[in-house]
């Protein structure tokens, strides 16, 4: 019977599958390249070493938040609280390390711990309270955490962080921003985690079919809690980088960033229905947005028009992806 079904198996030979893989992986990258080429021709300031690192520095915070929302999205969830958690962990770090004078190490630890803790609460709300969709629990958390971030110092910003903290957000090694290195490290680690470990596979499985995952013996709740805790932790890291970048923690930091981060993840090819998405796609999605913002600034486009253009590019980027995938299905 093996031979029977052979030719429903089609022209999908090794080489065409390689080609398809290539496209799938590098489709968004292609869009990014086109964007870069257009900008290089439009403004002489764009394609300079300086500006390239400028972009990576500007992209770093959204890049980390995008990673933070990638995980829940892979499980067919979402995390709307990352922007607020960024602010809250930054404020706590300020209080601990500056106001209480306990120094950078304890500050950083508390920053990450706060992020992870509130992320864990998101996970609990989803799994233990059995809220139907994390949209609602993380929307609630978005408000709760923002409120706390405001209350904690009565809305006063905190400045005067230790050099080591500033270094993470604004230092460079040679011309390379430290924040960019942080991003690279996180992305490599996450890629490895998602593709090489059992838990990584389970995350995709849960996003694909939660009930099937459960019936396959996967402890779905445990994994979901881990996912939301990691998401919060990453928001904490983003808070750390943000503070380093502006040398101040302020309670309205990161407002609305969650939508940018989600957009980056989806431009990068992930599906809101779960189970589909990659770390590299996310990186490219982030860069598309960052490059676009930077380029439009360099072209001196007003911020109003920038909004409209970015909106159009979001749709365009995803549409290109749709076209590409359709092309694939047709020819393969």
């Amino acid at each position: 019977m093996a031979e029977l079904q052979q030719n429903t198996e089609t022209a999908d030979t090794k080489s065409s599958s390689f080609y398809r893989d290539f496209l799938t992986k590098f489709g968004a990258l292609f869009g990014l390249l086109i964007l870069c080429i257009i900008l290089s021709f439009s403004t002489e300031y764009f394609f300079t070493v300086d500006n390239m690192f400028n972009i990576t520095r500007q992209a770093s915070i959204i890049a980390i938040l995008a990673l933070a929302v990638l995980l829940p999205i892979l499980t067919s969830g979402i995390d709307l609280s990352v922007g607020s958690l960024l602010a809250l962990s930054a404020m706590v770090m300020g209080v601990v390390s500056v106001n209480w004078g306990l120094g950078p190490v304890l500050g950083i630890i508390s920053c990450l711990a706060v992020g992870a803790f509130f992320g864990w609460l998101n996970g609990l709300a989803l799994t233990k309270l059995r809220l139907p969709h994390p949209f609602i629990s993380t929307l609630g958390m978005m408000n709760i955490a923002r409120g706390f971030a405001l209350i904690i110092t009565g809305a006063a910003p905190i400045a005067g962080f230790a050099f080591s903290i500033q270094y993470i957000g604004s230092g460079s090694i040679g011309p390379v921003p430290v924040s960019f290195l942080v991003v690279i490290f996180l992305y490599v680690a996450m890629h490895f985690f998602l593709t090489r470990t059992t838990i990584g596979t389970y995350i995709y499985a849960i996003g694909g079919n939660k009930e099937a995952a459960r019936l396959s013996g996967i402890n779905v709740d445990k994994i979901l809690i881990l996912v939301y805790t990691s998401s919060g932790l990453l928001a904490g890291v983003a808070g750390l980088v943000m503070v380093g970048r502006v040398d101040s923690a302020f309670p309205l930091a990161g407002m609305g960033y969650e939508l940018d981060a989600i957009a980056a993840v989806i431009i990068g090819g992930a599906s809101l229905f779960g189970g589909i998405g990659t770390v590299w796609g996310t990186m490219i999605g982030t860069l598309i947005i960052a490059v676009l913002r930077n380029g439009l600034n360099l072209l001196n486009v007003s911020s109003d028009l920038q909004m409209t253009i970015i909106g159009a590019v979001i749709i365009l980027a995803v549409y290109i992806d749709v076209l590409r995938q359709r092309g694939q299905t047709k020819e393969a």
């Binding site: 019977m1 029977l4 694909g208 079919n209 099937a212 995952a213 019936l215 402890n219 189970g275």
Partner: protein, 496 residues
């Protein structure tokens, strides 16, 4: 007798106050194939889900190799050595086939996933099940449900289970795959594995089973040795009355040509297809899994794009580019995948039954609620859907009863041409006869009936004419007199 491998005593389970299992007993010995037989909704799948920890028991006790156990989650039961193939597919569509096969049971090397090893093992398993080993790299969601069912079986075989539970594993398989599966099962039994096997196909039970436990209404009726019990006896115990004939074939005159498919070209297949179906006959469509029967039906119905060809109904050529066109042209298509394509699970039976025929119940743009209610009740009664509550959500019905709801939806549309794709998949013997009677009624009313089925006995029993498909081409056309199991199989495997 040594102590049973698995024993359950007086299990009870209720949903929303409805008692589904009412104190049921079961014992399974090592090295036996233990069959569960019961009508749709008797509680077979519910029992299975409690054995695997997918549901918790309300009351009752469970013993594994003589020791009392409670399973909180599926992984608890997997840990003691129970592998399960559930009635509904549990594949992750986005994962590759080999990833699904090892899901929850991954192989590691230095605590990292060992993909190489998993792929090798997956290939071996597919070969053993008679499949193309290259499938392992495919996205599971891209495969038809027949193949997915085979992947599901492969998945169960990766574990070192002592008990393998199979809830209707064959309902979407055709003869050849079933044979492959049975060969594997028999081998496993020789190795001392116990198997719980659920099927509504009596001949399978006869072939494979050692003992059969018959369930009725959430209670055990009896456990009997299969070899010594005649099928009619089993059916009688199961439905509580004797069933006179399995295939209530009626004789009727062949009438006008009702459906004509001319040079239909389906995107993925090279050759155009042509055939006709006539009034007064039931036309069968046979073939192996993946032969393209579903694709053909979908193309006719406008569910998939077709590149060329025409479709005529009672001599009139119809333009059909969408299911909507098809329905307006008088077609009805009872899809094979009731969960994915047939039902809105979160809505009531009434809602589902009326969904395709709302246009009949409008007055000045406003829906006539009372008429809709009446129609819902009517079909619940007519098809004997259980529980007979038109206001119940479709999700909570047993598989077989869900299937009836899908059929009801299409009967309600007043179509002229009915294409049934695996209409009796998962339906119990009693209900099957009811479906056959429905087909007869349609014929008597002058409607056209085309039936796609992987159960050859069913086609042979009910059809006046049988077309056979192989790899997207029509390879056989037999009438009732010339059709035989052997001839059809030959055509289905491509040998003319």
């Amino acid at each position: 007798m040594s102590e049973p491998l698995l024993q359950v005593i007086q299990v009870k389970k209720s949903f929303s106050g409805t008692e589904v299992l009412k104190g049921l007993d079961l014992d399974v010995e090592a090295g036996e194939v233990h069959v569960l037989l019961g009508e749709n909704g008797a509680g077979k799948s519910t029992l299975i889900k409690m054995l695997t920890g997918a549901y918790s028991m309300d009351e009752g006790e469970m013993y594994w190799q003589g020791e009392k156990v409670t399973f909180e989650t599926p992984s608890d039961s997997m840990n003691v050595g129970i592998a399960t193939i559930y009635q509904e597919l549990n594949m992750i569509p986005e994962l590759k086939v080999y990833e699904n096969i090892f899901l929850g049971n991954e192989r590691h090397r230095f605590s990292m996933l060992n993909r190489k090893h998993m792929k090798r093992k997956a290939r071996e398993l597919l070969i053993r099940l008679g499949q193309n080993p290259d499938l392992i790299e495919k996205r599971t969601g891209s495969l038809g449900i027949g193949l997915q069912q085979i992947i599901e079986i492969a998945k169960a075989l990766t574990t070192d289970a002592k008990l393998l539970i199979m809830d209707e594993p064959t309902s979407s398989l055709s003869g050849t795959e079933v044979e492959q599966l049975f060969a594997s099962v028999k081998e496993l039994r020789k190795e001392g594995l116990a198997i719980i096997f659920i099927s509504h196909r009596l001949e399978e039970i006869k072939e494979l089973g050692d003992r059969v436990t018959i369930l009725r209404d959430g209670l055990k009726v009896e456990t009997l040795p299969v070899k010594e019990t005649i099928s009619d006896k089993m059916v009688e115990l199961m439905v509580g009355r004797t069933l006179n004939e399995k295939f209530p074939k009626i004789e009727s005159e062949r009438g006008k040509e009702g459906l004509r498919v001319d040079g239909l070209q389906i995107a993925m297949y090279p050759e155009p297809l042509s055939f006709s179906a006539y009034q007064g006959e039931i036309l069968g469509l046979a073939g192996l899994v993946g032969a393209g029967r579903t694709e053909l039906a979908r193309a006719i119905f406008g569910a998939d794009p077709k590149t060329q060809g025409s479709i005529s109904i009672f001599g009139q050529e119809m333009t059909i580019n969408s299911p909507k066109d098809a329905i307006q042209a008088g077609l009805a298509f009872i899809t094979e995948d009731r969960k994915g394509e047939g039902l809105v699970l979160g809505q009531t039976l009434r809602f589902n039954i009326n969904l395709g025929s709302l246009f009949k119940y409008k007055q000045a743009g406003v829906l006539k609620k009372r008429a809709l209610y009446k129609n819902g009740e009517h079909y619940v009664q007519e098809l004997n859907i259980q529980p007979a509550k038109a206001g119940m959500k479709a999700r909570f019905l047993s598989g077989g009863n869900q299937q009836k709801v899908v059929i009801a939806k299409w009967l309600s549309t007043d179509a002229e041409v009915f294409i049934f794709d695996e209409p009796t998949r998962g339906i119990d013997v009693g209900a099957k006869v009811e479906v056959y009677r429905l087909m007869n009624e349609l014929i008597e009313k002058g409607k056209i009936v085309v039936v796609i089925s992987s159960e050859l006995p069913e086609l042979l029993g009910m059809c006046d004419r049988i077309l056979v498909m192989h790899e997207g081409t029509l390879t056989g056309d037999f009438d009732r007199e010339t059709a035989s199991q052997e001839r059809i199989m030959r055509a289905a495997t491509g040998g003319k």
